[in-house]
Symmetry: C2
Subunit: 96 residues, 2 copies
């Protein structure tokens, strides 16, 4: 009745990040930070966790001279996100 919710996705910031990445092909650190209004530290940590889980890839490069970190969702990440959404629906609709 209440499937376990993927703890990696059941976090406000990580969910927001994944949610953005689902629809965007790729996004850099700065963009993610603006969209989520997270602090840099928090975003950095959460990106690491998503990376460690294999839900995203992270590429470090430069845009001009400035460092640039680009994130992309992986197939596993996509799948986990979809599954999370499905699971969540069971929670939200349990009342009916």
């Amino acid at each position: 009745m209440f499937p376990k919710l993927d703890p990696l996705l059941h976090s406000e910031l990580r969910l927001a990040v994944m949610s953005i990445l689902v629809g965007v092909d790729e996004a850099d650190f700065t963009y993610l930070k603006k969209q989520t209004s997270a602090t840099s530290g928090n975003l950095s940590v959460q990106i690491d966790k998503l990376l460690a889980a294999g839900y995203i890839t992270v590429e470090k490069g430069f845009k001009g001279k400035m460092p640039r970190t680009t994130c992309k969702i992986t197939a596993a990440g996509q799948e986990a996100f979809n599954k999370y959404v499905e699971s969540l629906k069971e929670y939200l609709s349990a009342g009916k």
Copy 2:
């Protein structure tokens, strides 16, 4: 774009409890425990938090000789739940 998710509801067990209470008028501790397959300790703690937030009421009585704890959702709880669901939708659909 990403509204703050009510931290009281953004918890697996508390969300499950609220989700049950939304559809059921009242439910006792034992019932909630079975439905959520939570441990007693965890359930006890989370019920306390929902109570402290004013999202549920808790009545202690007896069923025969056995103690019985009955939970009910409040109007504030209902409202918070609905709001949480709405907020969550913004996360889940951000990709589209």
